[in-house]
């Protein structure tokens, strides 16, 4: 904004104020949806542990919960992390908050449709593998598949809109090559590129490509819906996993985007763009497109070279994450006078969950290992590690930071420590039961386990204890951050 006029500066400040309001609303949505969707998870583990016994509701509620829990949390992860990234990005580029509000409204419409479908017990699983939504063996009404397609279309439009707005905002200030940091590779680090701009550019490009794949997937679904004839399930499977894999990876990368901007506030050391970071994120943009093949390793009909590319790309995405972001986070902390608060602790520990979950994911992305781990609870283990104790920590850290920044309400140190301890112990204990179940080849997405795999039931019982700790941590978080949220809201209204 070097050429900005006084009027332009005021307008920019106005957009930033509107961005703060939007971020606050999404913070509230996180605090509302995370507990509700988390409780569906608690219900599922209780169902699997058989403690509900005679009181257990019909199995259709288990699978409907499985569907909404997965769809909902992937959606919440993508959207809240996206808004978190935009919040810090709004310091550098001018975003049109009207578009972001429109996307928010459409997202709410999509979520309402998904909730209606949940009440109608629509249950094709969170990745709704074609042609299951249409062929349920009497499990759910065919109208629910139609509602689901409308929900997908609405969410697709909403998210494509704000991804395009992000690209427009970045492009209005930075040429593409500069936004991707290519001038650093030529030995010229001028103009200086804030790391969040680099991450946001990579995410926006990958996001638009993923959403276009979703459009293609939706077209295949519509062809089936209106002609009644089967389309190629392997092609649709590729599109589905490409979209889903990229989307959930983007959620994590959005989190890293705001981590780069927020953590230095607590460590006192600026996190600057440098050549390794530029190489890393440009590699990520390329590799994330091909890593999704690991979801199809057990589709032996895929060409063999595609499977090998999947393994290489999956290994490849781990290297920039460790060498640039994880090591960078540690360098921010090592022998520095870090101001440890709820926000900084959760941001720091969120990267640890990403690292530990990443190890589980890399192992599972090895074809020979996946042969025995695919669709066992090992899969649920590693993605809950980098989502629950990874990305959720980052998002909770972001909202804790946001509400603190906007409200100025002092933190209750003891409560903050109790929150971190409960979430940490509960979260890791919970995922450990998934890992152990995976070792014993307990299948994922089973309402009840067969007698040969009874250990799955026992481990689900133990997991419940840890889930209760997570619930406690979330409740304490709501008490502490909810109080700040109301103060921040009041301060924002007053200003």
């Amino acid at each position: 904004m070097a050429e900005m006029t006084i009027g332009g500066a005021q307008e920019f400040a106005g957009e930033q104020a509107r961005m703060r309001a939007l971020a606050l609303v999404w913070g509230a949505l996180l605090m509302l949806l995370l507990p509700i969707l988390g409780l569906l998870g608690l219900f599922m583990r209780a169902y699997q542990s058989q403690i509900l016994a005679e009181a257990a509701p019909d199995v259709s509620w288990f699978y409907a919960s499985l569907t909404l829990h997965g769809l909902g949390l992937v959606g919440v992860s993508y959207t809240v992390s996206f808004i978190g990234m935009l919040y810090v990005l709004s310091q550098h580029v001018r975003l049109n908050t009207r578009v972001l509000w429109l996307s928010t409204g459409l997202t709410v419409v999509g979520v309402v449709l998904l909730v209606i479908n949940f009440l109608l017990r629509f249950a094709p699983g969170w990745y709704f593998l074609y042609p299951l939504p249409f062929i349920s063996a009497g499990g759910w009404a065919s109208v629910t598949a139609d509602i689901f397609l409308v929900a997908l279309a609405v969410l697709g439009v909403a998210w494509l809109l704000w991804e395009l707005e992000l690209i427009r905002a970045i492009a209005s200030r930075y040429p593409l090559a500069q936004a991707l940091g290519w001038h650093y590779l030529k030995g010229n680090p001028s103009p200086e590129l804030p790391p969040v701009v680099l991450v946001a550019t990579v995410c926006a490009i990958a996001g638009v490509i993923a959403l276009l794949a979703a459009v293609a997937m939706l077209i295949f679904f519509l062809v089936h819906r209106f002609t009644g004839s089967m389309v190629d399930p392997l092609v649709v499977k590729n599109l589905t996993f490409f979209f889903g894999h990229v989307l959930i990876n983007l959620a994590m990368y959005h989190g890293i985007g705001f981590l780069y901007a927020l953590f230095p506030i607590y460590s006192g050391h600026a996190w600057k763009t440098a050549v390794p970071m530029v190489i890393a994120w440009n590699c990520v943009l390329f590799l994330v497109m091909f890593a999704y093949f690991h979801h199809l390793y057990m589709d032996f009909a895929q060409p063999g070279w595609v499977q090998v590319v999947g393994q290489i790309a999956s290994y490849g995405t781990a290297i920039p994450a460790a060498v640039v972001t994880i090591l960078g986070t540690l360098a921010q902390v090592y022998r520095r006078p870090v101001r440890w608060t709820l926000a900084s602790s959760l941001l720091f520990l969120g990267t640890m969950g990403w690292a530990i979950g990443g190890v589980g994911a890399v192992l599972d992305s090895t074809i020979a290992i996946n042969f025995r781990f695919h669709n066992t609870l090992w899969v649920a283990a590693h993605f809950h590690t980098y989502l629950l104790v990874g990305l959720v920590f980052l998002m909770l850290g972001f909202v804790a930071h946001l509400t603190q920044e906007l409200s100025g309400v002092p933190e209750r140190v003891g409560l903050a420590r109790a929150i971190v301890a409960s979430l940490l112990l509960g979260g890791y204990g919970f995922v450990l039961m998934f890992y152990l179940s995976g070792v014993h080849a307990v299948p994922r997405r089973y309402a009840l386990y067969p007698f040969e795999l009874e250990i799955g039931t026992t481990l689900a019982k133990v997991a419940l204890l840890f889930v209760l700790l997570v619930v406690l941590g979330v409740l304490l978080y709501l008490i502490e951050v909810g109080r700040r949220w109301f103060a921040a809201y009041a301060a924002l209204r007053a200003s």
Binding site: A123, P233, R335, N375
Partner: protein, 201 residues
């Protein structure tokens, strides 16, 4: 690598990560924030990059020859395996329609120990997965059962007993009860003679 070895690898690396994070967090106590400390960790970037490249390279080289995809082996037996909400059918004969499916699902399958079996796996409706568990509940391997495609899964059964096939791809409300069994028995003398002849050739 057995699942337990994979778990132990994950556990050791995971604990190492926790240790490093704890160490870093403790190092902030009373720290003055020297630039030298930041630079020192920055210098680890290259060794870490090389270490990861080497470790992942070794893992890749070790595991790629062990992928489960058919590599031109000639099976001793072919078994057609078909999934359909919420049952499997196994047969030495092709299963092309519902009638053949019902007949095959009612006929128990017996396989001789030590033979290389090729399962030709497909589905008549939605995606399923065909996962074979041995008599001790250990998962031997799996492949997807997809409508319109045939996936060839090769397994050799060295342990006699009752094997179980479970569906590992979510396929609807009764997914968790979709299963079938087959028996692996000691080969009869006649089958053994034929196998020996085949292996000598």
């Amino acid at each position: 690598m057995t699942p337990m070895v994979v778990f132990l690898v994950w556990l050791v690396i995971g604990l190492l990560v926790v240790f490093v994070y704890a160490w870093m967090a403790v190092s902030t106590r009373g720290a003055a924030g020297e630039e030298a400390a930041y630079q020192a960790l920055g210098r680890l970037r290259r060794p870490l990059f090389i270490l990861m490249l080497v470790v992942l390279g070794i893992l890749f080289a070790f595991t790629i020859p062990r992928t489960p995809y058919p590599k031109g082996q000639i099976p001793d037996e072919v078994v057609h395996a078909v999934g359909k909400q919420f049952q499997f059918a196994l047969s030495a004969q092709p299963i092309r329609n519902d009638e053949e499916f019902i007949r095959a699902s009612a006929t128990p399958l017996k396989i001789s120990r030590g033979r290389l079996v090729e399962f030709r796996v497909t589905s008549l409706d939605v995606n399923h997965a065909f996962a074979v568990y041995d008599p001790d509940g250990e998962l031997l391997g799996q492949t997807q059962a997809m409508p319109g495609y045939v996936n060839r899964l090769l397994l050799r059964f060295d342990k006699p007993g009752n094997y179980t096939v479970l569906c590992l791809e979510y396929c609807g409300l009764s997914h968790h009860i979709m299963r079938i069994g087959f028996e692996v028995a000691e080969p009869s003398p006649a089958t053994s003679r034929l196998s020996n002849l085949a292996s000598r050739r």
